[in-house]
């Protein structure tokens, strides 16, 4: 079973509010990914880290999200100003490598009212 921990499991925010979620990767995994899974179950890659450094991120993440993976603290993903279209399941995954198998947490389900 995956040991990736995500909190909170559910998050409800109003439009324009900040929404922050956290992820503790599996021990020994230096690579962390964030995905958005929409209501059609499609995965959208948001950002990934190797140790504390950003490897890649999409344009949307760069503009409206802030994310970090500090050493000895949970990784976090924060939407600066929530929009209705941000309602989705946010999945965190960790991996020993950028191209190896990924281990997923249970996700944070965000609802933006």
């Amino acid at each position: 079973n995956s040991k990736v921990i995500q909190t909170p499991r559910y998050l409800v925010k109003g439009q324009g509010q900040k929404a922050k979620m956290r992820c503790i990767p599996e021990k020994g995994h230096p690579v962390v990914f964030w995905y958005q899974q929409n209501k059609n179950n499609e995965f959208k890659f948001l950002i990934n880290f190797q140790n504390q450094e950003v490897l890649q991120q999409i344009d949307m993440t760069e503009k409206r999200f802030s994310a970090e993976c500090p050493s000895n603290s949970p990784c976090s993903l924060e939407i600066q100003s929530s929009e209705a279209g941000d309602s989705a399941l946010y999945l965190c995954a960790s991996s020993p490598d950028n191209y190896a198998e990924q281990f997923f947490g249970p996700g944070t389900r965000l609802t933006v009212l």
Binding site: E42, F43, N48, Q56, N98, A100, E101, Q102, F103
Partner: protein, 112 residues
């Protein structure tokens, strides 16, 4: 650029029948292919993986063979069970350093 294609959105089968879920990919690098399964309200978890051409890999009754000549990694099972009802995602990595690409997923629905 790199991409993964899953052609079936929904597959409905009667228990005991065989299944094949299609996955094709596009990359110019050496590929690593994965199948993940996501049961309702659960996290996706790895089902199978391969980077070796023409070698069958198996787990929990499911199997797949990476065919680089046809850029395919189809998932098969000889006899589906009710508990196999889930979402199945094919994913592609390669060693150029870019992130793993996921297909759009196939929902497998097994009925009695």
């Amino acid at each position: 650029g790199d991409s993964v294609t899953q052609t079936e959105g929904l597959v409905t089968l009667t228990k005991g029948l065989p299944v094949m879920l299609n996955c094709t990919y596009q990359t110019t690098y050496s590929p690593f292919l994965f199948w993940y399964v996501q049961h309702l309200n659960e996290a996706p978890k790895l089902l199978l993986k391969s980077s070796t051409d023409n070698k069958r890999t198996e787990h929990q009754g499911f199997y797949a063979t990476l065919h680089k000549s046809s850029s395919s990694f189809h998932l098969q099972k000889s006899s589906v069970q009710l508990s196999d009802s889930a979402l199945y995602f094919c994913a592609l990595s390669e060693n150029s350093g870019t992130y793993q690409r996921f297909g759009t997923g196939t929902k497998l629905q097994v009925v009695p």
